[in-house]
């Protein structure tokens, strides 16, 4: 099992080019759990993720891992504990799947040395978990969108971090692949205890797969906790401005949001 880490953001304000998107957000990432950040477009979900993965420097406040502020931790050492799969990583033309996954080994490799046995094992393990071993020697351009996404996640897994951030890992994927990816990530969490923090657009999938939800609205944290406690029609209305009713997902028992529009409203709710 992966070790427990105390990983916290304390009153962080952050954004791009003096334009603050996050205001005074404090969160503590539950260790060895799956956390999902939800909120409307532009509410600061990605910014929060990026600030914690130190892709963005906060303008005020501080992110700490253990006892240390993250900007004081050497970058390779940080990269051995915290990994991030960006929303749209760039595929180098003509690279094979195994070589791309292998690039995730960089923080563990020493200067100018080739792959060690450990590197091969980590790559093989990551590819097994993501079920892409058979594609090892294939060119990544030949794979489908869902397969490619599994390759990228495998690259992040080969990094063997205790904490893994994913910025919208299911965007642009068919529903089948969305479920597949989320199941694989859950495997990873349950089997290895990897702490997973991700941004997802789909609230119902978030409610089903998350142990812990962070709800953001206009750059502020407005609610957090177990999905069954957090996901209410009031919260959804507050952060998305959408009328809805919340029912229990018959499959998982988690809350499920049913939106109410202006049409097809047989219950005459909010009409």
């Amino acid at each position: 099992m992966k070790p427990t880490h105390s990983f916290q953001a304390k009153e962080i304000t952050a954004g791009y080019d003096n334009n603050s998107i996050l205001h005074d957000v404090s969160i503590s990432i539950p260790s060895n759990k799956i956390s999902i950040i939800i909120g409307a477009n532009g509410c600061g979900k990605s910014t929060l993720l990026k600030t914690m993965a130190r892709l963005i420097k906060p303008t005020s406040g501080q992110v700490t891992l253990g006892d240390n502020p993250i900007n004081k931790i050497p970058s390779k050492q940080f990269a051995r504990v915290v990994g991030l799969l960006p929303q749209s990583p760039i595929v180098p033309e003509g690279i094979t799947v195994a070589d791309l996954v292998g690039r995730g080994r960089f923080p563990h490799q020493s200067f100018l040395k080739g792959w060690t046995k450990k590197d091969y094992e980590a790559v093989a393990e990551a590819m097994e978990i993501m079920k892409i071993t058979e594609f090892a020697d294939r060119n990544i351009d030949e794979l489908s969108g869902g397969q490619r996404q599994r390759v990228w996640i495998a690259m992040a897994l080969a990094q063997q971090t205790d904490i893994l951030f994913l910025d919208e890992p299911t965007t642009y994927l068919d529903i089948t692949y969305q479920i597949e990816i989320l199941d694989l990530l859950t495997d990873l969490n349950r089997k290895y205890g990897t702490t997973i923090v991700m941004v997802l657009h789909d609230i119902n999938l978030s409610a089903r797969y998350a142990d812990h939800i962070f709800a953001l609205h206009k750059g502020k944290l407005v609610a957090e906790g177990e999905p069954s406690k957090v996901i209410t029609s009031k919260l959804i209305h507050d952060i998305f401005g959408l009328h809805c009713t919340v029912v229990t997902d018959p499959v998982s028992g988690s809350p499920s949001v049913i939106p109410i529009g202006r049409y097809h409203n047989k219950l005459r709710m909010y009409s």
Binding site: G83, P92, W115, A124
Partner: protein
């Protein structure tokens, strides 16, 4: 199961490594053969034994002058300039993820040339000052291109277009300087327009040799990081790379070697542009293609120089031949990128 997949991955990776080593060695052999040809061929063809004799410092009648004073410096200039162009071109192309983004196309070599021509024609400066000016000119051009393309959000497409525009402006400056220049300065200045190995002298090659020997290893040491930069800013950062520092070190090292190479041989057209893509095509992308690209640079320069010297009735400088090779590839690339919508 686990061991099986470790083996499967290892076999594939080792196979690609073997291919990489094989192709790289093959390129090194070709480059070496071309070096020998450069020394043996000329108005008089000297046998290998004479060439070796001269290189070992023996006095061989006729050969000592032709090989030792004329052909050897010409060969060394070609080797170091070709290597520098090949390596530095690949750095830019990989870093900016676009084969068009290289010193020839975005005006870095033109910046070096313009600064040098200015020193020759307006300042009547010494060779040392001309070399320094060409380095400064190259770096300043990079700086201007990066600042102008920064805008609200950085885009590589915009950087390339701005670079092409700057290149055109610099070429206009060079043309103007040549028009106002004095007759006797023109031949010296012309060297900066089309690359040539003519008249290379050993003593003027040392700055290039030393710079390449110092900064090429720096670039090679950053090779793995360069490949990670290709995955994008965020992925590279989360793998533990200081992207800004890495980029800065790569840009400075590359511009230094390319500016010194330009100062020595003139801008040999398209070598920086062609070497990287050819190397990647040959060795694949699993391993750093910097060294193969450097070897391709040597091969392109030496082979083109030999073709320019001996294939036609008139002798052409090396830059004319590489220009003929490179221009069609540039057009092909533009058409292909236009279709894919990359530009």
């Amino acid at each position: 199961m686990m061991n099986e997949s470790v083996n499967f991955i290892m076999v594939g990776r080792k196979k690609r490594l073997r291919r990489f080593i094989l192709v790289t060695s093959f390129l090194a052999v070709i480059a070496f053969a071309l070096c020998c040809a450069m020394l043996m061929l000329g108005n008089t063809i000297y046998p290998v034994s004479d060439v070796i004799g001269v290189l070992l410092g023996q006095e061989v009648k006729g050969a000592s002058f032709a090989v030792g004073i004329i052909r050897f410096p010409r060969m060394v200039a070609g080797v170091f300039a070709g290597f520098a162009f090949g390596v530095a071109g690949t750095v830019f192309q990989t870093m900016l993820r676009n084969p068009l983004a290289n010193p020839n196309v975005i005006g870095i070599t033109a910046g070096s040339s313009a600064a040098a021509v200015f020193c020759i024609i307006v300042l009547q400066a010494s060779n040392t000052i001309i070399s320094i000016a060409s380095v400064v000119g190259g770096l300043a051009t990079v700086l201007i291109i990066f600042l102008l393309s920064k805008g609200t959000s950085f885009s590589i497409g915009r950087l390339i277009l701005i670079g092409i525009g700057i290149q055109a402006m610099l070429n206009a400056v060079i043309s103007y300087l040549l028009l106002i220049g004095q007759q006797h300065d023109i031949p010296t200045a012309m060297r900066w327009l089309s690359g040539s190995l003519n008249g290379a002298k050993m003593e003027s090659l040392y700055p290039l040799i030393i710079t390449v020997l110092i900064f090429a290893p720096v670039i090679f040491a950053l090779g793995k990081r360069l490949d990670l930069l290709e995955l994008g800013e965020q992925a590279a950062t989360s793998l533990g790379i200081h992207t800004d520092k890495t980029r800065l070190a790569l840009i400075i090292s590359s511009v230094l070697i390319i500016a010194l190479a330009t100062a020595t041989t003139g801008p040999i057209a398209f070598v920086a542009f062609l070497s990287g893509p050819i190397a990647k095509r040959l060795v694949g992308v699993g391993f750093s293609s910097l060294i193969p690209a450097g070897l391709i640079g040597i091969i392109l320069v030496l082979a083109s120089d030999l073709i320019g010297q001996f294939a036609f009735v008139a002798r052409y400088p090396v830059g004319v031949i590489t220009g003929i090779l490179g221009a069609p590839y540039l057009i092909y690339l533009l058409i292909r990128m236009n279709r894919k919508g990359d530009l």
